[in-house]
């Protein structure tokens, strides 16, 4: 393919009367490829956040490789202290830093480009970004200095350096400022009538993510501030049960921000890669609404074998409402591929039941990444998540490797793969730079997904034999009482290692072309070259 996919034009807004933007003169450009109006201030911040996101992804990825090489029992690479240190580092860089920086970039893009408005405040954007960046750098420094080997969860009364908590508070407040800036941008778009009717579906999804983010960050402040005050000996130790309850309001819910953002990215990439349209606005929007109303209850799944929360509380939170959130994912899991099918059939790929699927642009990493994300998240992530959230099954899964086995299919195979796929459009459209090494880019989603799936399956099976997560030695060398696992766990831990290597190669296949493109790529003047 040498020209832009014709389908991209199909994805464009079809408003009869073009609404006026509200940009100051010279502060916006019209994208030659998509026709969207890009606010130049927002563009700068999208770039800043995206670059930082990729840096933290790479840092977290290096830690991931070293951890996987340690869990692979035949290799057992790191000493115990560095294993625990890098596990803490990996969790926070991946789940907090990479994802939050990327999400703020997505929020700024969705609000300004899709609503044809300027960014509400450059000052707020700077404030949020600086807070996040200072917090992130401090956080990583404190962990690598060995002052805070407490895991991402930092369960009190396990105590980290005060700056560990303070830097997380900085990142959270910085993100919150970005979210407020996003809401303000949506508000001025409505006030200035830069769009007509209801916001586009992708913006609706972004608003969903932002609303859940506010609730999430509220929980974060609710637990991190008292914990910080305890670490500087102003307050007594937080109650460990209360800590777990409130912390998971942050810890699990932040992953629901990812889900909402990821589903929005699915709709976005479906539209720009194959021209997918929304089958039923009401259905898709109601599904997003279900996330806001019910997803917070999934936080309860972390407490299913805890003391102090009653059986009634556990049953309540594992049944009715949690399934309404599952329903939301089941709906998106239908509407997104169905929209792709309808679009491809309309383009003439109408042979048989799955002819459209064969004709899909599998060589376009923006499409393949998005579709693989959908499949891995929906099948592996969804099935393992619902299973582990069962009151009784949780007894045989709690704190075993089955848990990271689950969330590596959701957050890595799902969210990270989708965000990588998005980058194959962000770099040419926002940075206006051409990707080098295009053959590597085309293969990247497949290699990365393959690695993540092998890793996650290895983790899940090892966990089902009882192998603990966050644990350095499956042989229990030097323990008072001997303990060991079924010998077959070594095969599964080997899968963790090999899957980890393949996923890391897939990560480099993403990071290296992206970094080269952003800093040295050929400048794109007109339309972006088609994938």
């Amino acid at each position: 393919m040498t020209t832009m996919d014709p389908t991209v034009e199909d994805a464009l807004p079809e408003t009869a009367v073009e609404p006026k933007g509200n940009h100051a003169p010279g502060m916006a450009r019209v994208c030659a490829t998509t026709g969207l109006t890009v606010d130049l201030t927002a563009e700068k911040f999208i770039k800043l956040h995206a670059v930082f996101a990729v840096v933290f992804l790479l840092l977290g990825g290096i830690a991931a490789l070293l951890i996987a090489m340690t869990r692979w029992s035949a290799v057992h690479l790191l000493p115990a202290d560095w294993y625990y240190r890098l596990t803490t580092f990996h969790g926070l860089n991946m789940l907090i830093l990479w994802i939050l920086f990327m999400e703020v970039a997505i929020l700024y893009f969705a609000a300004t480009a899709l609503l044809k408005t300027r960014l509400a405040s450059a000052g707020l954007a700077w404030a949020g970004f600086v807070l996040m960046a200072v917090g992130a750098v401090t956080l990583d420094t404190m962990i690598l200095m060995g002052t805070s080997d407490v895991m991402m969860t930092s369960y009190a009364p396990l105590r980290a350096h005060p700056l560990f908590y303070l830097s997380i508070i900085f990142v959270a407040v910085g993100t919150l400022i970005g979210v407020i800036n996003f809401f303000a941008t949506v508000y001025i778009a409505k006030r200035d009538k830069t769009y007509s009717g209801s916001v586009p579906l992708v913006v609706f999804g972004a608003i969903t993510a932002a609303i859940i983010a506010v609730v999430t960050l509220g929980h974060g402040a609710g637990i991190m501030i008292p914990t910080f005050l305890w670490s500087i000996e102003v307050l007594p130790s937080p109650d460990p049960a209360v800590y777990r309850l409130v912390w998971w309001g942050l810890g699990h819910q932040s992953q629901q921000v990812n889900v909402a953002a990821m589903v929005s990215v699915w709709y976005l990439l479906g539209a720009i890669t194959v021209g997918a349209k929304v089958l039923n606005q009401g259905v898709s929007r109601t599904a997003f609404l279900l996330y806001i109303l019910f997803i917070n209850l999934a936080s309860a799944h972390h407490l299913l074998v805890d003391p102090g929360v009653s059986a009634g509380w556990k049953i309540w939170n594992t049944s009715y409402a949690m399934y309404l959130a599952v329903l939301a994912s089941m709906i998106h899991g239908y509407t997104v591929p169905a929209a792709v099918e309808v679009a491809l059939r309309k383009q003439g790929h109408d042979k048989g039941l799955f002819g459209w699927l064969g004709a899909a642009p599998w060589r376009n990493p923006g499409f393949s990444g998005f579709f693989l994300s959908l499949v891995v998240f929906g099948f592996l992530g969804g099935i393992t998540g619902v299973t582990l959230g069962t009151e009784q099954i949780n007894i045989i899964a709690h704190n075993t490797l089955r848990i990271p086995g689950h969330f590596h299919t959701t957050v890595v195979g799902g969210t990270t793969t989708a965000f990588m796929a998005l980058a194959y459009y962000v770099v040419p459209l926002i940075f206006r730079r051409e990707f080098p090494m295009r053959a590597i880019c085309r293969a990247q989603p497949y290699v990365f997904t393959l690695g993540v799936v092998i890793l996650a399956v290895g983790m899940s099976f090892a966990g089902s034999y009882g192998v603990a997560r966050r644990h350095w030695d499956v042989e229990f060398t030097g323990a008072t009482h001997a303990a060991s696992f079924d010998p077959s766990v070594h095969i599964f831990l080997g899968m963790v290692g090999i899957g980890g290597i393949i996923a890391f190669v897939g990560l480099l296949m993403f990071v290296i072309p992206t970094v080269i493109a952003v800093f040295f790529g050929k400048k794109i003047e007109g339309k972006m070259p088609a994938w």
Partner: protein
Amino acid sequence: MESPLASVAPNWLKAPTGTERAWIGLALLWCVVLTLAMPYWHFKGKQNSTGEAYTVEPAKFAARVQQFVESNKVGEQNGVPIVEPAPGGDAYMQAQMWTFYPILQLKKGQTYRIHLSSLDLQHGWSVMPINMNFQILPGYDHVLTITPTTAGEFPVICNEFCGIGHHQMTGKIIVTE
């Protein structure tokens, strides 16, 4: 149909039709079935986490454990007392960086109330090879009502990170015929 990137007329709320409607119906039905399965299995199934717990100061819990050990000790292994509680009675196991104390010796088919708590950090109580996992928190006496159904030795491992010696933290339960 509109692009997901385009704003839409406000009257977008329309009932789903065709296969989309059928799919939502099926998914909803499945959700209802699972919703009902949760409480059903709690009463029908034999293994639940009831979360029964009482607040307890770590020092007081340690004293109870010591008293339990002194009155029921039947032996020693690796320097750790083996303690056999009265059938149907209370048993105590304390978690502390990085040991479980003492070794419990239980009789198959008898029901016990096992009290778990920690003197310092959060710990995990993971019984191998049956792979049953419960959380231990300082300040909480977590009571598990259990009936061993198989004789043998069951290592207990810690599966909540508790510092640099975490991977050496083990304990033991012995079940006799």
